[in-house]
């Protein structure tokens, strides 16, 4: 297994020529990108261009038809995949938060460490309380998801993911379902994380945020990466007409 040979100077996530179809619809048509440890990359692009599909392939929520994805040197799309190991390394936050509605905020955060990592309840609770504090929700530990605002739920979801102590975080349009006022509180949380050196892969429509936070921007359209580069070059000096058109519409 190449796993043991992986060193932090190699890409933490490496995507090579990935192709993915749903039935006869080819959604990813040969996508490649590398993410180094500590890097923050943003994927932008029009609706339906395959952004969600791509990041869902990274933690094996979707399978692929061709190409390869490795996380810390470990191939994701193989029969021998240890899903548990993969999912310990890769955290994911969804557009619709997807909290467990029958558990309080604290229980949501504690659950995976107890059930999956087999931590003691006391230890899990200690970590969970610290994480809830970190996402600035102290005082809301006992609230159920239904009693929290969208922004608060999304921050619980981030804390829940962080409780597994992942090496890379995937964010799929995590502010898209939020009111404009609450978008900021979630973005601040992500920014904190990025500044602490968390490796992040974000799908976002928040261009200002992408520009500020990303080390690298990827623009996808119809299943291919049309253009990519550091934010400054990407936003101010886009080359491809499709990128230009997209940016002109959205900025």
């Amino acid at each position: 297994m190449p796993n043991d040979n992986w060193t932090p100077d190699q890409p933490l996530v490496s995507i090579k020529d990935v192709r993915k179809s749903f039935g006869s619809l080819e959604v990813l048509k040969g996508v490649s990108l590398d993410v180094m440890k500590g890097e923050v990359i943003c994927i932008i692009g029009p609706s339906g261009s395959g952004k969600s599909t791509l990041i869902r392939c990274i933690n094996a929520l979707n399978d692929i038809q061709a190409g390869s994805i490795t996380v810390e040197g470990q191939e994701v799309h193989t029969e021998k995949l240890d899903k548990l190991e993969l999912r310990k390394k890769v955290g994911m936050v969804f557009q619709q938060y997807n909290l467990f509605p029958h558990k309080t905020a604290l229980e949501n955060v504690m659950m995976a460490p107890i059930k999956v990592l087999r931590k003691s309840k006391a230890e899990a609770e200690q970590t969970a309380r610290a994480l809830i504090k970190k996402v600035r929700l102290d005082g809301k530990e006992g609230a159920y998801p239904g009693e929290l605002s969208g922004g608060q739920q999304q921050r619980v979801a981030i804390a829940r993911s962080l409780a597994m102590n992942p090496d890379v975080m995937l964010f799929d349009e995590v502010t898209a379902a939020l009111d404009p006022e609450t978008v900021k509180e979630v973005l601040v949380t992500i920014k904190d994380l990025a500044q602490e050196g968390m490796t992040c892969i974000l799908v976002t429509h928040e261009m200002g945020f992408a520009r500020e936070i990303a080390d690298h921007i990827y623009f996808t359209d119809r299943g291919v990466i049309v253009e990519h580069g550091p934010p400054a070059t990407f936003f101010d000096n886009a080359q491809d007409p499709r990128t230009k058109e997209f940016l002109s519409q959205i900025l």
């Binding site: 955290g91 619709q96 467990f100 509605p101 999956v116």
Partner: protein
Amino acid sequence: MLESFSDFFRELADQYPRWNFIFFYEPVQWDRIMKGLRYTVVLSVACVIFSVIIGVVGAWLQGSSNRFVRNTVQGYIQFFRNTPPFVQLLFFYFALGQFTPTIVGADGWTETPIISNVGWAIISLSFFAGAFNVEIFRAGIEAVPESTQEAAFALGFSRFQVYKEIVLPLAFRVSLPSLNNNLVNLVKTSTQAMAIAVPELLYQCVSIWNDYPSAQYPTMLLLFCSFVFLVGILVLGMHRWEQKSRIPGYGG
């Protein structure tokens, strides 16, 4: 006080021959009723528990990736849902009962089957109500959003853990009203066990009014009251449970 209670019904029976509440003044009859009530309760509780287990396991198997397993569960549901429970009971007891091993008694002469008529009644009724419970839980499971389960998978939960920790608790809440109806039906259907001589409440009551025709109306009255009471307890319990499992801020 107790004396005057039984005296009252003894006199009532003397004056109005149709209203012979014999079980209120003859201890032997009272014991028959009590014995019947005990059997009914045991039968009901056992069937409620087993049918819920069958429902949970069946609904889990229906989500299996193995087609054979899914088809088997589907076949089971079709059979038990589309045939009369009474016929099922007779079939289990008289047909399957013939092929179950027996234990020879100490005298080397008497043979007792390892599954008694009570056992067959529990098995048959549990499978009958279980078939409905599978469908009820499946509807509840389908109401749990795929995305909630996906979030659990992304956290490293196994399929079994997702079922146990996320899907079941949420599905249960959705299923409670239908489950409630089915279990009420089950308790009432338990009277059919009379047909294979399970000495439950109906069996005892019929025996009493066969022995004492003057006690027929009172015994029927008693039957109705007992079931209103038994089902009432069940419904109250389910209602409490529903209240307790209500999640703040979570509709449905």
